[in-house]
Symmetry: C2
DNA sequence: CTTAGCTATTGCATTTTGCAAGTGCAAATA
DNA sequence: TATTTGCACTTGCAAAATGCAATAGCTAAG
């Protein structure tokens, strides 16, 4: 990890994922079942290839994502969440809730509605699902 | 707001505060009682003046912070949270919790310990306190 | 042997950030 | 009245990050 700006946990968190792209990759893994470079590349936000490589590298170095050779296709890698990565679920959920609440053009879909109805239940349920997929 | 990358609420949120500084300013207002340019400038992370001006402008434009002339000193401005800004409390708390959990050198202080013990209670209590300070 | 799919890497223009110095203005002080 | 101080910016410039298009290796399939 590059130099920390301070000991504040919020600042430390932002040192790791305080940019416009990292949490979108986490979202893709966490909520959309995406696992590979090419799947991330095809997300609607259109991340550039060099940024994607860079962020995957940082997230792997920070032990948020784990990278392994695909058992199906040996020339492919799959990325999955570590426990540390899965622990970002509440951050993602809260950002989702805030974004949906304060943006007219961000309609709540299934998950958004569930969150509005019973946020703790959603977090509990999803974190148990993630537990099954956690690597290393 | 500049062009949205997508309709995803997470992406929309990151379009607004997806950088290394915005949420630290929010933290200062929300948890440390800071209200002015010079107080933000003195935070331990040492934000540069041009970045600070820029972020305060964005946060005000996004209706997250409200800027008013200080009733005490007329040549001074005070910044306070709007409801939209105060709604970021859960995001801040979750980032704090994650940062403290996964960083050896980010010791939990008072608030961190309370969060570990009973997160919903902390959010409830703080959001009621913030309610009193909300502007516009 | 060729082709297609996938994960990068490279080069270059643009934008954002970081840092240091300076400006403008109102209130406080002499 | 003249001077200083505090506060909120602004500017200039170097460095770093981002966006974009093109290309390169590598593996497996045909």
């Amino acid at each position: 990890m590059e130099n920390k700006r301070s000991d504040c946990p919020i600042s430390c968190s932002l040192d790791v994922f305080g940019d416009k792209w990292s949490l979108l990759i986490i979202r893709d893994v966490m909520l959309r079942g995406k696992m590979s470079y090419s799947e991330f590349l095809n997300s609607e936000e259109k991340i550039a290839t060099n940024i994607l490589v860079n962020r995957l590298g940082v997230l792997e170095a920070e032990n948020i994502l784990s990278k392994q050779v695909s058992p199906v296709n040996k020339s492919k890698y799959i990325y999955s969440l570590t426990q540390k990565g899965a622990d970002l679920l509440p951050v993602i959920i809260e950002m989702m809730d805030w974004g949906a609440k304060h943006n007219a053009n961000c309609p709540r879909r299934e998950l958004g509605k569930k969150i509005k109805k019973d946020k703790p239940a959603v977090i509990k349920e999803l974190s148990q699902e993630l537990k099954k997929q956690i690597q290393k």
